[in-house]
C-alpha cells in the first residue's frame, strides 16, 4: 500500500482485492459479543470533517474504535477554521500533536492531496469535493461481491447527477479496473466532460442503461453543489430519470439496487425501489464499517512506495 488513500488510483488491482478480502474478516468482528480487537491500540486517528456527514463520519469512527485506535473528531463548524485558519495551517497544527492518521472530508477537490504533501500522518480521503470518495467505492464493490461473487463481466448502470458526484468517479475507476461493464445515464447538463475517456458507456435514456443490468447504482441529486438550473424541476427529473419499479423491470431478475445515501426519495429513487427486495442500501452502510476497518488496518502497515517513506 502507498502512504495515503487519496484515490482509487492509489490501489492496484491486487490491493483492491486485499482490501475486500480483509473486509470479510473485519465484518465478522462486528458480529461478536465484544466488537473490538486490539490491533490499532496506541494509534491516534483524527477525523477532520469540513462538510456535514453522518454516515461516513460515524462509519469511520466505529471502524476506528473497533480496532482500538484513539479517535477524535474535529467538526469544522465548531473549530478555529471559523476564525479564518487555512486548511494547511489546521493540518500542521494537528500534525504537531503527532496523530498517525487523518481522515479528511473537504468540499474542495484535491484537499487531501494538499494534506498528503505536507503531512507525515497517513491521509485517508473521506470525500473531497467533486473528486473522489474511495472508501465508498470499496464498500460498494464489497457489497456487489457479496451478492454477485465477482465483479468482472457485470453490467453496472450508474444513474443520476454525474457531474457533482465523487462517488461516481471512485466507482468508475474501481469497477473498470476490476473488469465491469459500466453504463451511465443522467441529464446532459449533468454529464462531466471527458467521461468517454474513462472507458464507460453513456446513454441519455435510463432504460437503455438499465437494460440487462446486474447492478443499478443511483446517485443523489446534489442540490447543495448546484449553482444553476440543470433541469426544470425535481418533479420532471423524477419523471425522466427517477428509478421506479417499472424501470427496474428492464434489469436482470436478480438485480441489486444501490445508493450511497443520503437518498432523496421521490427525486432520484422511488420509495418502493429504495425499500424493495432488490435494495441493498442498508447493507452498504453495514459493510462500510468493515471496509473502513480493512483500509485502516492495511494503511497502518509499512509503505511500499519508498519515495514517500
Amino acid at each position: 500500500m502507498k502512504k495515503d488513500l487519496l484515490s482509487i488510483n492509489d490501489l492496484s488491482r491486487d490491493e483492491i482485492y486485499r482490501v475486500l478480502d480483509t473486509a470479510v474478516a473485519m465484518r465478522e468482528i462486528g458480529e461478536r459479543p465484544i466488537k473490538k480487537v486490539p490491533t490499532l491500540r496506541g494509534k491516534t486517528v483524527v477525523n477532520l470533517f469540513y462538510e456535514p456527514s453522518t454516515r461516513t463520519r460515524t462509519s469511520f469512527e466505529i471502524a476506528e474504535k473497533r480496532l482500538s485506535a484513539d479517535t477524535l473528531n474535529i467538526a469544522v463548524q465548531a473549530s478555529s477554521v471559523q476564525k479564518g485558519e487555512t486548511l494547511a495551517d489546521t493540518a500542521m497544527n494537528i500534525e504537531a500533536m503527532a496523530p498517525d492518521m487523518i481522515v479528511l472530508r473537504h468540499q474542495s477537490s484535491g484537499a487531501c492531496h494538499l494534506l498528503s504533501r505536507i503531512c507525515r500522518s497517513r491521509i485517508i480521503n473521506a470525500g473531497d469535493g467533486m473528486h473522489e470518495h474511495p472508501t465508498q467505492a470499496l464498500l460498494d464493490a464489497f457489497t456487489i461481491r457479496q451478492h454477485k461473487q465477482q465483479i468482472e463481466g457485470l453490467k453496472v448502470a450508474i444513474v443520476g447527477d454525474l457531474l457533482h458526484s465523487r462517488v461516481l468517479r471512485s466507482n468508475v475507476l474501481l469497477l473498470t479496473k476490476l473488469g465491469a461493464e459500466v453504463w451511465m445515464s443522467g441529464p446532459q447538463t449533468l454529464v462531466p466532460r471527458g467521461l468517454d475517456q474513462l472507458g464507460v458507456r453513456f446513454s441519455p435514456t435510463v432504460d437503455e442503461a438499465v437494460e440487462g443490468a446486474d447492478v443499478v447504482m443511483m446517485l443523489r441529486i446534489q442540490q447543495e453543489r448546484m449553482q444553476g438550473a440543470y433541469f426544470p424541476s425535481l418533479r420532471e427529473y423524477y419523471n425522466v430519470f427517477g428509478m421506479t419499479v417499472e424501470r427496474m423491470r428492464r434489469a436482470k431478475p436478480d438485480v441489486i439496487v444501490m445508493h450511497p445515501g443520503p437518498m432523496n426519495r421521490g427525486v432520484e429513487i422511488a420509495s418502493d425501489v429504495a425499500d424493495g427486495p432488490y435494495s441493498v442500501i442498508l447493507e452498504q452502510v453495514a459493510n462500510g464499517v468493515a471496509v473502513r476497518m480493512a483500509v485502516l488496518y492495511l494503511l497502518a502497515g509499512g509503505v511500499e512506495d519508498e519515495a514517500v517513506a
Binding site: M1, R18, D21, T22, V24, A25, M26, E28, I29, R32, P33, I34, K36, V37, P38, T39, L40, R41, G42, K43, L67, Y297, L298, A300, G301, G302, E304
Partner: protein, 176 residues
C-alpha cells in the same frame, strides 16, 4: 532436509491424541475444538472426526484467526500487513471446555494472542492446548496439554507442517 513425520505417522498421532482427550475429559458434553488459522483448523477438524470415529460424539469445531491480536503487529511497520484470516466460531464458548489446536508450539506468542482473542468471545470453563509439534524455545509461560511429537530444534531451524487440506500432502519437515 529431515522429514520427522509422514502421513501415516500424523494420522496415528492424531488418533492417539483423540484417545487421550477422551481419557482425560470424563464427559465430552461441554467440549469444543477451536483451531488456529491456518493449519490448526484442519487439525481440529481431523481431531473431531477421530473422536467421532471412537465414540460417535460430535464435538463442535471452530476456527480462530489471531492476526489482529499479534504482539508484533505494529512494532516494525515495514512491508505489507499480514493477511487476516477468517474467524468462525459458530457456537457460544460460555461454560465450554475448549481444546485449542495449533500445528507448531514455539515461542508461545501465538497461543498468548489466541487466549486474548478467545476471552472476548465469552468465558469458557477451561482452555486446553493441543499441538502436533512442540519444538521448544518458549518465550512465555505456556505449556501444551496434548503433544503429538516433541522435536528438539535450534532457533535457526524452521519446522514446516504440511497438511493435505492446505498443502496437498501430510508431512512435517525440519528446515535449516
Amino acid at each position: 532436509m529431515p522429514v520427522v513425520m509422514d502421513a501415516d505417522r500424523i494420522g496415528r498421532t492424531l488418533t492417539r491424541i483423540a484417545h487421550e482427550i477422551i481419557e482425560r475429559n470424563r464427559t465430552l458434553d461441554q467440549l469444543v475444538l477451536v483451531g488456529i488459522q491456518r493449519r490448526g483448523v484442519p487439525l481440529a477438524r481431523r481431531l473431531a472426526a477421530a473422536i467421532h470415529a471412537i465414540n460417535q460424539h460430535e464435538v463442535p469445531t471452530g476456527a480462530l484467526d489471531i492476526t489482529l491480536y499479534r504482539d508484533d503487529l505494529m512494532r516494525h511497520t515495514v512491508g505489507t500487513q499480514p493477511v487476516v484470516g477468517r474467524t468462525d466460531i459458530p457456537f457460544s464458548i460460555d461454560d465450554k471446555r475448549i481444546l485449542l489446536v495449533d500445528d507448531v508450539l514455539y515461542t508461545g506468542r501465538t497461543i498468548r494472542a489466541a487466549l486474548d482473542a478467545l476471552i472476548e468471545f465469552g468465558r469458557p470453563t477451561s482452555i486446553q492446548l493441543v499441538v502436533l509439534i512442540d519444538r521448544g524455545h518458549r518465550e512465555l509461560p505456556i505449556k501444551a496439554d496434548y503433544v503429538g511429537k516433541n522435536v528438539p530444534t535450534s532457533p535457526s531451524q524452521s519446522v514446516q507442517v504440511r497438511l493435505a487440506e492446505t498443502d496437498g500432502r501430510d508431512e512435517v519437515e525440519i528446515q535449516e
